[in-house]
């Protein structure tokens, strides 16, 4: 069954081959495992980009295939990041605290250790108590479970309430924006238990691997991100290829008709919304150790809107389109905003790309929507003739 699935979907094989090749090339050109043509920071950028590609295919499934324009999927991405960040921060602070206390004549009690860790982590927000949500922070396994569980549960509850009331279209989009905004505002508070606007930092230091250089860690996370993207791609391609794909595309095109065929549309939407939220959480959990820091600004409403723009520019309703869109737009974006693009001196005015990039992005979004509704991915239709 698995083999026939891959044969029926040659684009999946092509994608995996391309991703594999890309991973090998980057690995061979990195500093530790290769010739050193690619800097460690750029390996991190590429690894983060792969995570963005992963959330983009999740967005494509929920929007491009199922027709739910969620503008809140970055909330799930952020939650995944926070969940893994809590363990990273706790475990690393614990190591530091144990080191500094080890010189004392009387061994510290577990209460003293806990207080010292709490002081280190929550000192910035004027607290030293561990909030309840940090109860599992000492266990990597449990926090990994949280990476999946919390986004999944939030999506399940939110989706159940929204879909059950038959909220659709732009109203649903607004609700999802409100969800991510509310979460972001909540996390900005110092007493939210997640260090307010400071967020969680130092996430690039992996506890237990203090002796390992960032160059090595970066390539490990890069490869892990590539594997996650590959696995996510195959999973979603499988979901949308068969009858499930038929039904969710039917929901996108004519919800009422699907209902009268006897399908419980709300359950399908909830299923798609939830699995894409879980994958977004996983993508976030891989992204933030590479970024090093997560703060509530990351899940501001604009982030989820960018996600929709990537998918629209890349091409909705085809998974590789979402990958192309996310990779292309986010890399070009960081080139422009990172000062990579030279300013253009027009004599009377100098175009500074850090300011003007958003205008360019907005215009290209409008242009793609008007003139190339299939996005960049649509170009493949000219190259590949569909088998009849």
């Amino acid at each position: 069954m698995r083999r026939s699935f891959l044969i029926e979907n040659p684009s999946v094989m092509w994608f995996l081959a391309g991703l594999g090749l890309f991973t090998v090339v980057v690995t061979l050109m990195s500093e530790v495992t290769g010739v050193g043509l690619i800097s460690t920071s750029f390996v991190k950028t590429l690894g983060k980009t792969l995570c963005l590609c992963l959330i983009a295919i999740a967005m494509d499934v929920v929007w491009g295939y199922c027709g739910i324009l969620s503008l809140g999927h970055f909330a799930f991405f952020g939650i995944g990041g926070y969940a893994i960040g809590m363990w990273l921060m706790y475990a690393r602070t614990e190591i530091v605290v144990l080191e500094s206390l080890s010189g004392q004549a009387i061994p510290p009690t577990s209460q003293e250790i806990s207080d010292a860790i709490g002081n280190q982590i929550f000192g910035v927000v004027g607290s030293s108590e561990f909030p309840l949500i940090w109860a599992f922070a000492d266990s990597l396994f449990l926090q990994l479970v949280m990476v999946i569980l919390i986004p999944g549960l939030l999506a399940l509850v939110f989706g159940w309430l929204a879909f059950r009331s038959r909220v659709t279209g732009v109203y649903l989009s607004i609700l999802t924006q409100a969800m991510t905004l509310a979460l972001s505002l909540y996390l900005f508070q110092n007493d939210s238990g997640l260090r307010g606007n400071n967020g969680l930092s130092g996430l690039q230091n992996i506890p237990g691997y203090e002796g390992v250089s960032q160059a090595t860690i970066s390539i490990i996370f890069f490869i892990a991100s590539a594997i996650a993207l590959g696995a996510g791609y195959v999973f979603f391609a499988w979901v949308v290829s068969g009858k499930m794909g038929s039904v969710i595309k039917g929901i996108r095109d004519n919800e009422a008709r699907v209902r009268f065929l006897g399908y419980h549309v709300e359950s399908y939407k909830l299923f798609i919304f939830t699995i894409t939220a879980v994958v977004s959480g996983i993508a976030g959990a891989l992204y933030y150790p590479q970024a090093g820091i997560i703060n509530p600004g990351e899940i501001a409403p604009i982030a989820s809107i960018y996600l929709a723009v990537w998918v629209a520019i890349g091409g909705r309703g085809r998974l590789y389109g979402a990958v192309i869109g996310a990779a292309f737009v986010s890399l070009v974006s960081s080139w422009f905003t990172g000062g990579g693009a030279p300013n253009v001196d027009l004599g009377f005015y100098t175009i500074q790309w850090t300011d003007w990039w958003l205008i360019v992005l907005g215009l290209s979004f409008v242009a793609v929507t008007l003139f190339f509704p299939k996005g960049i991915g649509g170009l493949f239709d000219y190259l590949v003739r569909k088998p009849s």
Partner: protein, 249 residues
């Protein structure tokens, strides 16, 4: 005689307008019935009530030999109970192939998990081909539904209804926009389907209704005005006054 569907004393009001007024109508198993009536007679609202889209203010809708009430059931639940509906405008999934359209409609478990784990079987393929043959689209299975002609889309939608294996088929203006030959074929498909299930056709076109050659119910202002053979109802003076007179004046 035991009835398949019993609608009794149903009323529904939209913003003060009484779309359905104390309507009572019954359908037997394996029956072909035409419902006619002027615009605003409540034909489409009647279908909305039976399929769960609209909740009536009062009255009962009783289904099947177990006499269960359809009121309060979701659209999808009613559909799986065995009531299929064809809309006025042909609504097929235009981005998907004829085969995919039929496969989606085919009577099979409908839960997300069942659908996710669904595997193509020879049995299902044969069922799809048999239906496609019935509606004259056997050679078009791999075509995208959006490319089909208007008449072919109508048939595909009827085929999707048949694939659901409903016990009651509600068909809203199947002949609209069809050529004469297409109408004849549509009549044949509906008559054939009515041998094994109840088929209710809402239609404006009297010529088409005559060709169906079945019992006719005339609706007017949300209730039944007359019932019987086409000749019987068309000779009814009230029917002539409120409906035929207007249409043919």
């Amino acid at each position: 005689m035991s009835m398949l569907l019993e609608v009794s004393g149903v009323s529904v009001t939209f913003d003060g307008f009484r779309a359905i007024n104390n309507l009572s109508i019954n359908f037997a198993e394996a029956e072909l019935r035409a419902i006619i009536g002027p615009n605003g007679a409540g034909k489409t609202t009647f279908m909305d009530i039976v399929t769960g889209k609209t909740k009536p203010d009062e009255g009962t809708v009783i289904w099947g030999e177990r006499n269960i009430s359809l009121l309060g059931m979701s659209e999808s639940k009613i559909a799986t109970e065995g009531i299929g509906r064809k809309f006025q405008k042909p609504t097929v999934f235009e981005a998907q192939t004829v085969r995919q359209n039929l496969a989606m409609a085919l009577k099979n478990p409908r839960s997300p998990f069942d659908v996710l784990m669904h595997k193509k079987t020879k049995h299902n393929a044969e069922r799809i081909e048999a239906i496609a043959d019935n509606i004259g689209l056997l050679d078009n299975l791999t075509r995208v539904a959006g490319e089909l002609s208007h008449g072919q889309k109508q048939w595909l939608e009827i085929g999707m209804l048949l694939a659901q294996e409903p016990r009651l088929l509600l068909v809203d203006e199947p002949a609209a926009g069809m050529t004469v030959e297409e109408r004849e074929k549509t009549t044949d498909i509906l008559k054939e389907a009515a041998k094994t299930r109840a088929v209710v056709v809402v239609e404006h076109d009297m010529e088409f209704v005559r060709r169906l050659d079945c019992k006719v119910t005339v609706l007017h202002e949300g209730s039944v005005l007359a019932e019987g053979s086409l000749d019987h109802v068309t000779s009814n003076q009230t029917v002539i006054d409120v409906y035929l007179g207007r249409g043919h004046a």
